[in-house]
């Protein structure tokens, strides 16, 4: 990845123009021609540096309920508990973290009530307390990094 690739990524993270020929517009801004830009973008996609062009949706605005949930799992039981948690189709983004609260996952369901139901079910099956941390205020969702 060279300097031009970095410039391309930084420019496109800010957004792709909503115009008839968006890549041509970006190419002009960067001082390259459209073919060069498209060739480089294709290479960045092929190398999996970029995953895709398009929208990041706000899933909550489209409906559904989400919560971040944590558990303090004794080390010896960890794999077994993780397996139980992972078996739920409502569980996404499950991470083991370096902390007494060592299991962190997101629950996505249709209603807030179902989040409570999944939590109670996990609590019952594992015998461990489930700590629910629903989002109260969103101060920032950046998702872009300058290279």
């Amino acid at each position: 990845m060279d300097e031009l690739d970095r410039k391309i990524i930084n420019q496109l993270q800010a957004g792709l123009p909503l115009s008839a020929q968006p890549y041509a517009e970006v190419a002009t801004q960067l001082g390259v021609d459209e073919d060069e830009l498209i060739t480089r973008l294709q290479a960045l996609l092929d190398n999996k540096v970029l995953s895709r062009f398009g929208p990041m949706y706000d899933a909550q605005k489209m409906g559904g309920a989400f919560s971040l949930v944590a558990m303090k799992v004794p080390e010896d039981d960890f794999d077994q508990v993780a397996e139980i948690v992972n078996s739920y189709s409502e569980v996404a983004h499950n991470y083991q973290r370096d902390h007494a609260f060592n299991l962190w996952f997101v629950i996505a369901t249709e209603t807030h009530q179902q989040i409570g139901e999944v939590n109670r079910d996990i609590q019952q099956r594992t015998g461990l307390k489930v700590y629910d941390f629903p989002k109260l205020v969103e101060y920032y969702v950046g998702l872009q990094l300058l290279l």
Partner: protein, 179 residues
């Protein structure tokens, strides 16, 4: 790190009033925009709309914040940001609405949410995701953040991830089905 959100439940609140064409557009856009000279016209051909309608519908979804951002989705790991940590802060309730946005100004902070404390076990009420090239870089960024936002006297904790079990990719499905 792939920052796509997961989403499985297609029923929409009435007030959003996404019509069938919006839904078809949302579905089609999930796989990404093509790398062609006129990608919106191409989408339109697949949806039976003209280019202007595709663009105005996307603009409308952006205006309503249903689309948070319309651009490129990067994989942070492949870009050299190989480490990240969830950093949690115990912020006095009367300072949190100032400090939350302050933290959001920094490039290496990608998420900043207020969540409830769960006392006595969990005193933290502000959750951030901090990135860096490696663990030390993440910790440097945490210190920088604490200094710049005047958080030096506040308690915080850094939770590095050890393992990732699952990260569901699919975002939006018209027909409900289980994984």
């Amino acid at each position: 790190m792939d920052m796509k959100v997961s989403f499985r439940h297609p029923r929409l609140p009435e007030q959003l009033a996404l019509d069938d064409q919006d839904q078809a557009l949302i579905m089609l856009l999930q796989t990404g925009l093509s790398l062609s000279m006129s990608p919106y016209a191409e989408l339109g051909r697949r949806l039976g709309m003209d280019e202007e309608e595709v663009i105005s519908r996307i603009e409308n979804l952006v205006d309503r914040n249903i689309i948070k951002r319309f651009g490129v989705v990067v994989r942070h790991h492949e870009l050299g940001y190989r480490a990240n940590a969830m950093v949690v802060w115990d912020i006095p309730d009367d300072r949190i609405s100032d400090l939350g946005p302050c933290m959001g100004q920094f490039d290496f902070v990608t998420l900043c949410y207020r969540r409830p404390r769960c006392l006595p076990a969990w005193p933290y009420n502000l959750f951030t995701m901090i990135h860096g090239r490696d663990r030390d870089d993440v910790l440097d960024n945490v210190e920088l953040l604490a200094a710049r936002c005047g958080l030096d006297d506040l308690q915080y904790d850094v939770l590095f991830s050890i393992r990732r079990f699952k990260q569901r990719g699919a975002i939006y499905r018209k027909v409900e089905k289980s994984d």
